[in-house]
């Protein structure tokens, strides 16, 4: 119990961010027209690719003899990059088409 409380106070900033972001995420999406749902989902998909930062940190900290971390980290960076790069490019392609109307 004490450990849990300690963890909460050690991470209080993070917990505040979580709470605020939940409300912000809901607010931002609330007024989106349905025509933009697919690009929006795709854009959001690219944004959660931010997990790649974690992959880079894991990879960069792995010691040379820790093969498990090296191999899995390498894989994680590839997959994360796929998520980020693919996500943004696909979203851009979709939105490019919307622009043509003018």
């Amino acid at each position: 119990m004490e450990a849990t409380l300690q963890w909460i106070s050690a991470n209080q900033q993070m917990i505040y961010i979580v709470i605020l972001m939940i409300f912000l995420g809901i607010e931002i999406i609330g007024r989106v027209p349905s025509v933009l749902h697919t690009p929006l989902m795709s854009g959001a998909n690219a944004i959660h690719g931010v997990v790649i930062i974690g992959a880079i940190i894991v990879m960069g900290r792995a010691s040379e003899h820790n093969y498990l971390a090296l191999v899995l980290g390498f894989l994680a960076v590839i997959l994360g990059t796929l998520n980020v790069v693919g996500g943004f490019v696909v979203t851009d392609r979709m939105l490019e088409m919307f622009k043509k109307k003018k």
Partner: protein, 478 residues
């Protein structure tokens, strides 16, 4: 000092994610919004690579590996994203989402390994002595959610491109619930386990989570796939946020939770458009319901009338207002360009043409708009549900192209129908309805459609693209 610059990089990234998402929700700024978020992501990645210092102040190493992985991922990502056909968009999003989920899961697995080894070195009797519960929670949640998201997205991807069929077996949901309970129990056992066995329990947790991801998506029907992808998208967001907790990284946390919250709301919005609850989508699959409740539609199996291409062409040519209702059938037939040609031709002949877009037409909300935009259809011709229903009152001819459930009157007048209550396009308000379908087989949701048997309705059988092409030729020769 360097560390401070990295902090600024992360703040910039977090702000661009928020602004980017905000800009993405308005048509005028959407494209820039995407670029803004991408720029922020770039800053965060470059900043992490060159400026990150761990607790002891050591910079990252293994640069060749990092760059090799970045380049491989970027090349595959760009090629896949550039090559994918617009009709295959939903499965592409699902695929990328799965990659993100796998990435989050892998990070958590490696992090577990560190904690486990540290506990081993210290000779703790129990794993729980070496780790704070909150830290363990972030690790285990990240690995479970990431694994479910990865496995689920891959199944959704395979289902949408036709590699897997729906699999429904008896007591499936009970089994799924048991497996899910098993995942949670294993995760708890891992924490309290004698240290030498904790890793085995952890591996079992991850494997069971992967199995759960597969079984969770397998029974869900094609019509509900967008909802599932959206849900898995928000899962991955939460998994990424768990990574943010592990590294005390606010950019990851902001991005992850933002997507988690937005994705959850988007999922709920989609369910609302279909008038179904999320539990209903996840637990009661359409197929199972249909066998028990679908049989009692009054006129089902009655007679329908067919219309020839030349008659259909005639009717449309001399109408003053035509409304096209596109559905997934149009996308499958790759007929959006031909459809646009027909629209142009009719407009030249003085016929007013509009498109009535149901919010869940296609396989994802907004999917139809993307497809039609690809074919250069003007934006202001696309009418949303309410506008379309107003316009339908003064419409002479409605051409339903591969849409089914979104025009099924059972949603309004048959309380026993699984789609009862879903807002639909009231095509019956128009003077004539022409329905293009390949056969009389029921649509995605497997529900009979009374519309086809009404006196106003004529059926025009055939592949969407071919039928449209024939219509164009016929109208030209009139």
């Amino acid at each position: 000092m360097k560390f401070d610059i990295l902090t600024i990089c992360y703040i910039v990234a977090a702000v661009t994610f928020i602004i980017g998402l905000k800009m993405l929700s308005s048509p005028a700024t959407a494209r820039r919004g995407n670029l803004v978020a991408a720029a922020g992501m770039f800053v965060a990645i470059i900043g992490t690579i060159f400026l990150y210092k761990d607790e002891e102040g050591l910079p990252l190493h293994n640069y060749p590996w990092i760059f090799a992985a970045l380049i491989i991922g970027a090349i595959i990502g760009v090629v896949a994203a550039k090559k994918v056909k617009m009709t295959a968009m939903p499965e592409m999003v699902s695929f990328f989402n799965g990659m993100g989920g796998a990435c989050a899961a892998l990070i958590s697995v490696i992090e577990f390994d560190y904690v486990f080894r540290a506990a081993e070195k210290m000779n703790f009797a129990h794993f729980s002595e070496g780790v704070a519960p909150g830290h363990y929670l972030a690790i285990v949640a990240g690995s479970i959610i990431g694994s479910v998201s990865f496995a689920g997205s891959m199944i959704a991807w395979g289902k949408l491109n036709g590699s897997f069929k729906d699999v429904i077996f008896k007591a499936q949901h009970t089994i799924n619930l048991l497996i899910f309970a098993g995942v949670i129990i294993l995760a708890i056992i891992t924490f309290f386990a004698v240290n030498t066995y904790a890793d085995y329990f952890f591996i079992a947790t991850v494997v069971l989570a992967l199995i759960y991801g597969v079984l969770f998506v397998l029974p869900i029907g094609g019509a509900d796939m967008p909802v599932v992808i959206s849900l898995l998208n928000s899962f991955t967001g939460v998994a990424a946020a768990c990574g943010g907790f592990l590294y005390n990284n606010k950019a990851m946390l902001t991005g992850g939770i933002l997507v988690g919250a937005a994705g959850t709301l988007l999922t709920i919005l989609m369910c609302k458009a279909m008038n179904r609850s999320l539990t209903n989508v996840l637990i009661g699959s359409f197929g199972a319901k249909e066998t028990t409740g679908g049989g009692n539609t009054g006129t089902t199996g009655g007679s329908y009338k067919e219309i020839s291409i030349s008659d259909a062409a005639m009717v449309m040519r001399y109408a003053s207002k035509v409304m096209i209702v596109p559905g997934y059938g149009l996308a499958v037939a790759q007929a959006q360009h031909t459809c646009h040609e027909l629209e142009k031709l009719l407009e030249e002949k003085g016929v007013e043409v509009g498109y009535a877009i149901h919010p869940v037409a296609g396989r994802m909300p907004g999917h139809m708009n993307v497809l039609l935009a690809e074919a250069d259809v003007s934006y202001d011709k696309l009418l949303e549900l309410e506008q379309a229903n107003d316009a339908l009152k003064s419409t002479d001819v409605v051409l339903v192209l591969g849409a089914n459930d979104v025009v099924n009157p059972a949603a309004k007048n048959n309380p026993s129908s699984p789609i009862y209550g879903m807002p639909i396009l009231d095509v019956e308000q128009a003077k004539t309805v022409i329905v293009n379908k390949r056969s009389m087989k029921p649509g995605y949701a497997g529900i009979e459609n009374d519309l086809f048997y009404q006196p106003k309705t004529s059926m025009l059988f055939g592949d969407g693209k071919k039928v449209l092409q024939d219509l164009i030729n016929e109208i030209k020769s009139l």
